[in-house]
């Protein structure tokens, strides 16, 4: 089963994909650092890219990336394949960690236990959501990017402020000086368009 070299000298090098994520997670649960290294080689780029997008700062994004992979290391046994793909789990964790950093920077009041709970929440199954159909790690991000960019500016801005900005809909309305109902409607319409444009995304094969 093991076709990966037992040692890799440099992280982030192009890794010859021989093992599935599931294989690597199984090894990670047993403390195999090489397995984490292989997962880093696969996913450091999308993790770092998302953190930069949210934080707008490469230094902070590095810290978030380090935090995320160490969390993956610590909490590998909490990952539940039945609930979704590893890449989705990792990027969800990245989103939550980066948004927490962003909110801390803004000194935005947190909900009770929100900071830690929201991060941890993504480490286990969400009983409400089978996110197995989310993006494949092999998905060309260009397609999602294009779908987002093709939205009318007002819809895209509202969605970006929500997802990458970590703002509540009330805060988005205040930021943009628009009625709350308008913001909600823009988000709904924008998400509907994304849903249509990306209907078949996330159904691609496993690694």
């Amino acid at each position: 089963m093991l076709t990966r070299p037992s040692k890799m000298s440099v992280w982030g090098s192009v890794f010859s994909v021989q093992e599935t994520d599931d294989d690597l997670i199984g090894q990670l649960v047993h403390g195999d650092i090489d397995a984490l290294e292989a997962l880093y080689a696969r996913y450091a780029r999308p993790v770092f890219s998302l953190a930069v997008r949210i934080l707008g700062d490469e230094g902070e994004a590095e810290e978030v990336t380090q935090d995320v992979f160490e969390r993956a290391w610590r909490h590998a046994s909490s990952f539940d394949r039945a609930r979704g793909r590893f890449a989705t789990w990792l990027l969800s964790m990245t989103h939550h960690v980066a948004i927490d950093v962003l909110r801390k920077r803004r000194r935005r009041p947190q909900a009770v236990g929100g900071e830690t709970a929201s991060v941890t929440l993504m480490l286990v199954a969400d009983p409400q959501a089978d996110v197995a159909a989310t993006a494949s790690e092999h998905l060309n991000g260009t397609r999602v990017r294009h779908a987002l960019q093709s939205l009318p500016d007002a819809q895209r801005t509202a969605i970006e402020l929500a997802y990458y900005g970590g703002l509540s809909h009330l805060e988005i309305a205040a930021t943009l000086g628009e009625p709350l109902g308008t913001i909600k409607a823009r988000i709904r319409r924008g998400m509907e368009r994304l849903r249509d444009a990306l209907a078949d995304v996330g159904l691609e094969g496993e690694a």
Partner: protein, 278 residues
């Protein structure tokens, strides 16, 4: 179940842009409404795709080596600490159990520690115990397990420090007489940490599954495997207050979980009441 459907809120819910009270309301509805639940799954799928949209950026070349070095240090610290007692890095004093050896043939470095060094962690553990001693006698009496993972322990501690938090002790079942577990429930009763140890090592095709019982219905709230030392800390999020359920249980199921419990129970608790616990 609330009467009004929540489909107009699901996109906002999926993007994480609702206020906390709205999230609670939506989740309460989703628990009972299949139609809205499937719409929520689709909304979450689309929201999750946004994670892939940013322009690709390459992390600095040194970052991978930095992370690896840090984790290796953590693993070494853990390894050296475990040498006399390979099973449990922390919490032995509180539980008095013989540690389980890790699975053979693998590096016994899980769970890794959180980055402050063994001494700091030991001190933190003591600090937690001291804190608990002055906190809530009921919680202190019932808290049998502390996880070694600093980050997770801090999160558990956060819940414990919240006035109104409760700890429910689960009872081991014949399939796992050495298993022990506590459910540390937040004051609102809708989220909790399951902290367990003494769990039997499972074959690769099995998982543990945590269930809430509502009459004859069993509702899955998590699938996990535990680490090689037989320990597990699982965050549980309940769509409605845990007090509304008649009990909970952990069973052994096929890897990835089952739609309903099929295997042997390892831990259980029944008849939860807000004041008295299960």
């Amino acid at each position: 179940m609330s009467e009004r459907h929540v489909e107009d809120l699901l996109d906002l819910y999926a993007l994480g842009t609702l206020e906390p009270d709205e999230v609670e309301s939506v989740e309460r509805h989703l628990e009972a409404c299949e139609a809205c639940r499937s719409r929520a799954v689709e909304a979450k799928r689309v929201a999750a795709l946004l994670a892939w949209a940013p322009e690709p950026r390459t992390p600095p070349p040194h970052l991978g080596a930095t992370i690896r070095r840090h984790i290796e240090q953590l693993a070494e610290q853990e390894q050296s600490k475990r040498t006399p007692q390979p099973g449990r890095p922390l919490g032995q004093g509180g539980v008095g159990r013989t540690p389980r050896p890790p699975k053979g043939g693998v590096r016994s470095v899980t769970p890794p520690l959180g980055g402050r060094g063994v001494r700091a962690i030991a001190a933190a553990g003591l600090a937690v115990l001291v804190l608990l001693a002055g906190w809530n006698m009921v919680l202190q009496r019932r808290l049998a397990v502390l996880t070694a993972d600093v980050a997770t322990r801090q999160q558990v501690e956060t819940v414990l420090r919240t006035p109104g938090a409760r700890v429910i002790t689960l009872t081991p079942q014949p399939a796992a007489p050495e298993a022990r577990g506590n459910l540390i429930i937040d004051p609102e009763g809708t989220s909790a940490y399951l902290v367990a140890d003494g769990l039997p090592t499972l074959p690769g095709d099995k998982s543990y599954q945590l269930w809430l019982a509502d009459g004859d219905t069993r509702f899955s709230v998590g699938v996990f495997r535990g680490n090689p030392a037989g320990e597990a800390t699982v965050f549980v999020r309940s769509p409605k207050p845990l007090g509304d359920y008649s009990g909970c249980g952990i069973t052994i199921e096929p890897a990835g979980g089952s739609p309903g419990p099929t295997g042997e129970q390892v831990l259980r608790a029944q008849a939860y009441r807000a004041e008295g616990g299960w």
